[in-house]
Each structure stands twice: as C-alpha cells, then as structure tokens.
C-alpha cells in the first residue's frame, strides 16, 4: 500500500507539465457572457454604456455583455451603489470591475490625490491574488491603460510603502489591509480619488466581526472620498436587504435603513443532489460515514475530479485515511484543511489546478472563491448542517451556469439522513439560511477608534456620526460610543486610576489625539479581528525522544490547537496530515512527533469547525419527523426506526418538544429533543443540570448533539415528576437565562474563551505568540485571571458586555436557546418510559465518544490526589 501523505498524489503523478497555477479565472470572469447567437436580444450592448474598444473586445471573443453587467454599468453611470446577487459562473467579478475599467480607460479625471481609483476587497488573500491575475487578461486584451496590484499580508514591506504613495488604479486587498491603510496619516491623500469599492463574497464577510470592521472602514472611506460608490458581489442569500444596507451610508439610523440597488441573476441550472444509499446499514451515531466509503470511492472513480467536503479536520483526516485504505487503483487523492502547512496546501491546490488529482478531501478551506480545477462532483460526508453552506459547497462543482452541478450527500448517521433530506429539499426550493442580523461588536469598534486616532486627531461628535453610517453600528448609542472611546483611552474602568496613563488626550480644539507615536506602531501590529486559538507547530522527527533536541530538525507538517496537544501523553498516536503519528513531546511552541506504525491510531477529535445545525434545517427536520406520510421516502432502516419510535414512545408535533424520562442501568435519564444545534444544547444542558441539582435530582453528567441532549441522574426523574416534586414546565422555564446562566458563566471555560477574543480584538491584550509563553511569566498575563478579576470588581465593564454579546450568538448560542424556550412554553410533551426509546439511542451512544459535561476541573485534581493517597497507603492501582 502506498504511504499516505498529503503530497503523495503529487509525487506519484506525471511530472508537472506546466507551472503550477490555478485555473485561470478569466474563464469565470468572462466566459458566461452569452453567445451572440443567444436569443437574449435585449443583451445587445448599449453603445452609450460600452465604449467601442471594449464592445469590440466582446465581439472578438464572440460574446455580448450580459444584462446584469449592463445593469451595473447603468447604475455606475448614475453613481448608485449596487448589490449583485448571482450564482457562481455568472460573470459576477467582471460585472463588478467593468464600470471601473471603462471609467479609468476613458480617463480625463482630475487627480486630487494619489490616484487610487478602485478598491477591491475580498475575504481571502488568495482570492485577491487570483482575481488580479485573471483581471489582467481582459485588461491586456482590451488594450486598456489600467494598472492593478494586490496588497496582502504577503506583500513586501517596500512594496506596501510604495503603494501608499504611488498606488495602482485598482488595488486588490483584504479588510485588514484597508484598516491598516486607514490608520496612516496619509490616508486622506491615498484615498482622495477613490471612485469605487468592490466587495467580493460579501455574504461570507458581512455578518462577522471582520464585516463589522470593514463596515467601519467603508464609513471612513466615504468620508475621505464622498462620491465613492460601492458594488457588492454575493452568492444568493436569504435576506438581501441586510447586504444592501451594508453597502450604503445610513443617513437616518434611528428611523430607516438606506438600501443599495439590487441586481439579481436568477440561478442557472438547479444542482442535482442525491443522497447516497449504501449497501451497509446506516449507523446510529458518528459523522465519519465510514460505512459508505466503498460507494464514495466508486463515485470518485466515475468522475474526473471530486471535491469531498467534511465538517471538521478530524473527519477530513479520517476520510482521507479510509479512502487510501481501499484505494486499489492508486487514484491520486489529496487532503486540504486549515491546519496543514501552507506549503502542503499549495501543493495540493496546484495539483488540482493541473488536473493531476481525482479527489480532494477538504474542510471549509475550499468553500470560497478560487477555482482550483475542473470539479465535476461534490461529495458531502456527514450532513451539511446548513442549506446555504451546502449550496456554497455544491457551487464549487462545475462553473458553467447552464449545466447542473452534481452532488452526493452521505449522511453519517440516521438523524443525518433526515438532515440531508431537509437540505436536499431546501436546495430544491432554493431556500437559504437566514443569518442573524447583527449589531456591531464593541471590541471591534474599540479597535477602529484607536485606528482613527492613529491617522489623525478626531472629533468625537464627528466620529460618532460617521460610525453610525455603517449599518452594523446604526443602532449604536452615544453612551456606548463614549464608553468605547473611554475604554480605548484609559481602559474604561469604574475605578478611575489610569487617567494619567491615558492613550488619548484632548487637543486645544476639542479633538482627541494619541499620546505618543509608539501607540500607533503597536496598533498596526495588532490590527484585525481574526484571533486564532494558540497553535503549536507539528514537527516530524526522524528519531524518537525529544529531550534537548535542536528544534529546527525535521519537517513541519502543520499546526494543531494548543489545548489538543496538551492532552496528549508521549506514546499517544493520532492522525494528522494524512499520516499516523506518535506524540513525543512539546518543546516551547512545537509538538514533536515521529511516524507511528500503528494501523489503528487513537483518533482524538481536535477542533476545527463544528457547525451547529441551522435553524432553518432544524425546522424542516422537525416537520419531517411529525409527518409520517413522508417517512416511506426515507431509507428503510430510518423509516423503521421512526415507526418504532411511535410504537414505544411518541413522535412530537413540529411545535412541541419531546422529553423522555426512563431508567437505564442504575441511572435515570432525561432526554430532550430541541433540534437547536449542539451549542445551544450544551448551554441548555449546563443550565438543566444546575436546576436538577438544586431540586435534588442529583445529576451526574450530560451529553449533547445537534438534535438532542441527555442528562443522567441518581434520582428517578419520572418519579419526581409523577409526585409533583418536579415540574418540567418550571425546569424548562425561560428564567433559566437569568441568574442560573449568570452564575454558570462565571466559571464557564467557553465564556473565558469568548472573553479572550474580545480582549485581544479590543486591544486590551496584545496578540502574543506561543513562543513567549515560557520566558514570559512576568510579561504575559492570562486573560482568565483578568476575566475573574473584572467580573468581581467591575461587572458592568465594556469588555464583559462585548463578550456577553458574542456568547449570545457564538459558542453559547444563548439567543437561539432563548427563542427555543419561548417557543416550547406549554408545549412540552413528556413521556415516562420503562426503557430507552429508539429516538434516544443516538444521543445515548454519544456518551463515551463525545465530551461529557458537568465535570468540574477540581474533580480531576481530587482524583489525582486520591490516587496519591492510595499509593501512599499501599493501596496503589493493581
């Protein structure tokens, strides 16, 4: 069997015939324009919109501009900002650039500043580079005098400095770079001529902290270039109006939302989505889809290039292993996920682009943007968790508008069969998941305020008005703004002891300026809203043993989360970068590993994007469960399972929540089925166990998955309910989101993680690299300590407020839990059972696989202490 590595396919394939590069996106830029002979007569170029040399270029290629490309030109002529929603392959990017190309080409503008005309902003630096490369093809062919350049974190310092003085006409960059440019005193000069801002993949950017920062930066750009217009490019979304509002200044934030124009290109051919039915029975639990691997392999064999999407890195590693295990034909199959070393990822991308791969197993790293080859099949292992994510991923296949994309969904377990069916129906109906409309994060605002002060002294009144022009901050109150400014300056503490260290000081004319230039330098080093969990490099050693090893020996395979590495003991084996590795030890910032011989590694789950089930799909699943007439369309084992459930227990109506209680072993179980996703269920589980503890039910622990949660106790819950000692209505009452939540949050590790992110973004804690940890016991301070102190002594502090707001929609999903509790008020369907119900089997099987909660960390210390005592008293482990 061939040794499995990520670059394996590259090695075994033919020698590279061409320089590695991505598939030219110029095809995607222009090819979709309709052929001349197409019946769309109305698409004939309007001579007033398209200058002759450009329409000549269209003619030379045998194309005519598409209606939406002309619509954008028309809007640009009227200086109207526009959102273009179009499916992949519709020539979206060219549509975005055409107005700028024409306008720059026709020239004749007076230069007031540095001459930067168009700013293109993409969420991925690779996408910016790709678009630039492929934009240059039409520019050259049209013979236009237009200069383009990219600017990302990879751009050299000298080039970046030059770009600030002598920018190109079109600069392609990322949100972080825009923030950086705006923090320099020369920003007014640089952006004085700015005419157009193009925001690519806006749907992926807007509803996030990065989107908040970008919205604030756009508000500033409008100030510097009052006539600037925006063009948003987006895939289909559930609520276009949120993106339309994002694109324009909000002039009356209290009363109305201003919207950009909307141009929609109706989706091309509908994707063909199948749900795989394997020969083997569908498992009760798990997400690996191991049972169907042979069918997956057959599908790969039947196609040119398959993209195999999974939801976590662990699943990616696992599927990659499994496929190679049965890869009798030695098909070149690659692996791509965010933890892999960048060089390894690039190799796989290049091999894809050159058509040297037959399949790539990938996580969300391949969700967006770049076309790395001619994908003709998308396989999704495990349920896609959201309708929009599924459509986005399917869109990676077949970038031609009029041919349907092919996709196969492979449910990992029985619940996922329902979920895949729901996703399939949603795709059929063209339904998208609605994103929560968000109000801008205060930690991001804090970062922005300091950035603006670094550019030039600011007048708080003026900056407040400017900030509220950005849609996410339209609802910002003056008080919140002032507190944020105060936080930036002195930390904003109730105890006013840092006035003398203030970072911002008033000038004579009532503005605020930074106290010294070092603050600006420090700010520029810490810009951005992407805060990675601390990661450690994984270095492969040739020989075992790490004591006092020179650390530069051996190849870096990628990075793993620090907390994952911390749980390993030397000798543990795990799968990473497509190989089985033996953990040897950690030195400073590196994890040392050797190749392991183990055939069956212990595969611990390390983090890497677990998405909770979307609200929209959850509703569809609930509806499906409540309607027995649709069960017959499901695979037999699943239909039988649901029928058994009606026999032994009940199936809840769509607006109900089912709660089952039953004994099992010497324990008593309470299983609830909210279908609100893992995060909300974990929070609910924490709160329920607190309450059950108070009632005296003696809870022991709980597990949660996307559909249900199970709590087990010493006391008989059925009995407590029957004797009116426990009311389920009270147990599930919304008031648990009050004091109980508050008390739990005080100790919650998730809340501390959330706080850390906010503290870093707001600039309270400087981003640090793990390398500092060791030498820095006097230098670095754990945010956990700060969190504890702040909660006790300044509970109303701005950063706690920001962390709370994040927790509501983030790791704790409190908002969704709140909606659920309100929805099920008086709608709890309680079933007292003698034994476990069919529906409860999957979640009970998670015990032992998933993390069991309710375990406090002192328990670990206590157990360790007990072991020492047993040892000391001669009663050591056998």
């Amino acid at each position: 069997m061939p040794r499995k590595t990520t670059d394996k396919p590259a090695r075994k394939a033919r020698p590279p015939a061409r320089r590695p590069k991505s598939k030219p996106r110029s095809a995607a830029l222009v090819a979709p324009a309709a052929k001349k002979k197409s019946p769309r007569a109305e698409a004939a170029p309007d001579p007033t919109l398209l200058p002759s040399d450009i329409s000549a270029w269209f003619a030379r290629r045998g194309w005519t501009p598409r209606p939406h490309q002309l619509a954008l030109l028309q809007a640009a002529r009227e200086r109207r900002s526009t959102l273009l929603i179009a499916p992949t392959g519709a020539g979206k990017t060219l549509a975005g650039f055409l107005p700028s190309l024409i306008s720059i080409h026709s020239g004749g503008r007076k230069k007031a500043g540095a001459g930067l005309y168009t700013l293109y902003i993409s969420p991925l630096k690779a996408l910016a580079a790709d678009v630039e490369r492929n934009l240059n093809t039409p520019i050259e062919e049209m013979g236009l005098q237009v200069r383009t350049e990219t600017r990302t974190g990879d751009t050299s310092v000298s080039r970046r400095q030059r770009q600030r003085v002598k920018p190109p006409h079109i600069l392609l960059t990322t949100p972080e770079q825009v923030a950086l440019l705006l923090s320099h005193p020369d920003a007014p000069y640089l952006f004085a001529d700015l005419d157009t801002i193009i925001l690519d993949e806006l749907h992926a950017l807007a509803a996030s902290k990065r989107g908040d920062l970008l919205a604030l930066d756009i508000a500033r750009l409008r100030k510097l270039a009052p006539n600037v217009m925006t063009i948003g490019l987006s895939a289909t979304v559930a609520r276009p109006s949120e993106l339309r509002g994002y694109l324009v200044a909000q002039s009356e934030p209290e009363t109305m939302t201003n919207l950009a124009d909307l141009v929609t290109v109706k989706g091309g051919a509908k994707p063909v989505i199948e749900i795989l039915e394997a020969e083997k029975d569908i498992p009760w639990t798990g997400h690996t889809a191991r049972y169907a691997m042979h069918e997956v392999y057959d599908a790969i064999r039947a196609h040119k290039l398959s993209l195999i999407f999974v939801n976590t890195r662990m699943q990616a590693e696992y599927a990659f292993q499994e496929l190679w295990r049965i890869n009798d034909d030695n098909l070149p199959i690659g692996l791509h996920h965010g933890s892999l070393d960048a060089a390894q990822r690039k190799k796989v991308e290049a091999a894809m682009a050159e058509g040297r791969l037959r399949a790539v197993v990938a996580t969300s790293t391949l969700d967006l943007g770049i076309d790395w080859g001619d994908v003709d099949l998308v396989i999704h292992l495990g349920a896609p968790k959201g309708a929009s994510r599924l459509l986005q991923r399917i869109g990676r296949a077949n970038h031609r508008l009029d041919e349907p994309s092919q996709a196969i969904l492979v449910p990992g377990n029985r619940f996922e069969v329902l979920e895949c069916r729901a996703a399939q129906q949603a795709a059929e109906a063209g339904d998208q998941d609605a994103q929560l409309s968000r109000s801008g994060a205060l930690d991001v605002l804090a970062q922005h305020v300091l950035g603006m002060a670094c550019e030039a002294p600011f007048d708080p009144d003026v900056l407040f008005d400017e900030v509220r022009c950005a849609l996410p901050y339209a609802g910002l109150t003056r008080k919140q703004f002032d507190r944020t400014v105060d936080f930036v300056s002195t930390g904003g503490y109730a105890l006013r002891s840092y006035e003398r260290f203030a970072k911002l000081r008033p000038t004579d004319d009532g503005k605020l300026r930074v106290t010294n230039p070092a603050i600006a330098q420090q700010y520029r080093l810490n810009i951005g809203t992407i805060v990675d969990a601390p990661h450690l490099k994984v270095r492969l050693l040739a020989h075992r043993g790490v004591k006092r090893l020179p650390s530069m020996d051996g190849r870096v395979l990628g990075e793993v989360e620090e907390y994952f590495a911390e749980q390993l003991t030397p000798g543990d084996t795990f799968v990473f970068a497509g190989q089985v590795l033996r953990f040897e030890g950690i030195r400073d910032t590196e994890v040392f590993v050797t190749r392991a011989n183990a055939e069956d590694p212990m595969v611990p789950s390390y983090d890497g994007g677990k998405f909770p089930l979307s609200t929209h799909l959850a509703r569809r699943v609930r509806d499906m469960l409540a309607d027995p007439s649709v069960w017959s369309a499901l695979p037999n084992p699943v239909a039988n399972w649901l029928e058994l459930q009606t026999e032994f227990s009940v199936m809840p109506a769509p607006d109900e929540v089912l709660v089952e209680t039953f004994p099992r072993g010497n324990r008593h179980f309470l299983v609830a089925y909210p279908f609100e996703g893992r995060l909300a269920h974990q929070t609910l589980g924490m709160l329920l166990t607190r309450r059950l503890d108070r009632i005296g039910a003696q809870p022991i622990g709980f597990v949660a998955n996307d559909y249900a949660l199970a709590v087990w106790t010493h006391r008989d819950i059925s009995d407590l309910v029957a004797n009116s000692r426990l009311s389920l209505a009270e147990l599930f009452d919304e008031d648990m989101l009050g004091d109980d939540l508050d008390a739990w949050l005080a100790e919650s590790a998730l809340m501390k993680r959330t706080f850390r992110l906010a503290a870093v973004i707001a600039g309270l804690i400087e981003r640090r690299h793990p390398g500092k940890v060791k030498s820095g016991r006097q230098v670095t301070i754990s945010t956990d300590l700060i969190y504890d102190v702040l909660r006790r002594h300044d509970p109303d502090h701005l950063l706690l407020e920001a962390a709370w707001a994040d927790a509501a929609t983030g790791l704790l999903d409190i908002k969704r839990l709140g909606t659920f509790l309100a929805r099920i008020k008086n709608r709890i369907r309680h079933q007292i059972l003698d034994h476990v119900s069919p529906l409860a089997v999957p979640v009970l099987l998670e015990i032992g696989i998933e993390l069991v909660y309710g375990q406090d960390r002192d328990a670990v210390l206590r157990a360790a202490a007990d072991e020492l005592i047993r040892e000391a008293t001669g009663d050591a482990e056998q």
């Binding site: 022991i700 400087e766 016991r777």
Partner: protein, 240 residues
C-alpha cells in the same frame, strides 16, 4: 465516571493541607498561602501588588483591581487563621513605584489588615525597597524557628528554607484532562511557595530552573484548586 459532586474519599477538608518542613507542621492553603500554627504566622509570597498599573503605565490598560483582589484574598486568610504575624516573602510590589500608584482605598485596606499584628515585608528583586506608606517591618530575610524565610531560594540543595520568587506551577495530565495550576513544591527540607498575586503567572516546576534546588530525590507537589489544595504525584506531571 465524571461526577458533578463526587464523593470525597480520603480527605475531609481540602481548603488547606498539612505540610511538613524540617519537622515543623504548616497548613498550606488553596489560595497559595502557608499558615504556621506553632508561630501563629501567615506566610505569602510574590503578591506583585500594582502589576496592573505597571502595565497601564506602559499603555496596556489591565483592570486596576489586582491589588484589591490580592488584598481581598489576604483578608479572608487573616480572618480564617487570625495570625499574630504576616510575612510577605518578597516581590510584594511589582515594581519600586508600585506603592506610589496604589489607590488610597487599597492602602487603607492594607492598614486595616495590619492592625493588631506584626507585618514583615521581606524584600525581593522587584521591590528592593518598600515604601513607608505600606508600614510594617522591612527585612532582607528572617529566621523563624530555625527556618530561613527569604525571597529567592539559595542555590543548590539548601535546607531549612521557605522561599518564593519562582512562581511554581504544575501541569497535570490525568483522565484525559490537562490542567495547569500554581503549586507548592518542596522536599520536606525546603519549600517554594506559589505566587499569591492576582495577576501572577507560573513557571512549570519541571523547568530546568528547579532542578538544582531539589536534586533528583523526588518532589512533593500540592496544586491549588478552586475548592481545595491537592497533593499530586510528581509522575503525573508534565512539561508545558
């Protein structure tokens, strides 16, 4: 099995633990303090008061409540043990300007704690001088009951010593969980105390810096938990 409220087997009260050094008995408390019943003395080390404001002076606005929080814990211990003497083993202030930056309310709380008892500041590398506003006696080291109390432990395998300075911490990997906590570390002849201050970090006791102090005859380690202090076998500990 993971328990919400596991039975406490073997140990009744976890808040403090008896610890023997050179034949004397001490109570080590989960906050990281040591009480010496025979001398009625409470010993703490590395308070690092005003660490927050030291960072603020350099532009990093950490919450200014670390002094307050450290004094609050100290007050709870004084209330529990009612010591006649409190001894702070050096680095009581994060830097030599610390006292000048202290909030008046915090100085007053400190003075209240000092009423009716002796208060001894041992100097450390962070605080070679202790400002008079903090009252108390200031010494470089003292010997009580045959045991030297000083900030920095003497190099080599010295005995009859209780010191601080190193901020010892231990990382336990047990039952699939990893946790890192400040700890007491000793070998019955000398003891290194954990740092007591609210913002103080820790140095892993498996670090080479600890090797010369205890030789290779084995270590006693007590880790600080939320509910108590826990003796842990050194073989369960891991490097960072």
């Amino acid at each position: 099995m993971n328990m919400l409220k596991p039975e406490r087997i073997g140990l009744d009260d976890f808040a403090d633990q008896p610890v023997n050094i050179c034949g004397k008995t001490f109570l080590a408390h989960k906050f990281g303090a040591l009480y010496w019943p025979a001398e009625r003395a409470l010993i703490v080390s590395d308070l690092h008061l005003e660490k927050g404001s030291a960072f603020a002076a350099r532009g990093q606005m950490l919450p200014p409540y670390d002094t307050r929080e450290t004094l609050r814990k100290l007050a709870a211990l004084i209330d529990r043990y009612q010591p006649e003497t409190v001894i702070s083993l050096g680095d009581s202030l994060h830097d030599s300007d610390g006292a000048a930056r202290m909030d008046q309310a915090d100085i007053e709380s400190l003075h209240m704690l000092q009423e009716d008892r002796d208060w001894i500041w041992i100097t450390g590398n962070h605080d070679p001088k202790i400002d008079r506003t903090l009252a108390g006696y200031v010494v470089q080291e003292i010997i009580v009951g045959g045991i030297a109390l000083r900030h920095e432990p003497r190099s080599g395998a010295a005995t009859h010593e209780i010191a601080g300075h190193f901020h010892p911490a231990a990382r336990l990997v047990f039952h699939g969980t990893s946790l890192r906590r400040p700890c007491f570390v000793g070998n019955r002849l000398r003891l290194i105390m954990p740092a007591f201050g609210a913002y103080t970090g820790g140095l892993n006791i498996l670090d080479l810096a600890f090797e010369p102090l205890f030789g290779t005859d084995g270590l006693d380690v007590w880790m600080l938990g939320h509910e108590g202090l826990y003796p842990v076998a050194a073989r369960l500990l891991r490097d960072d």
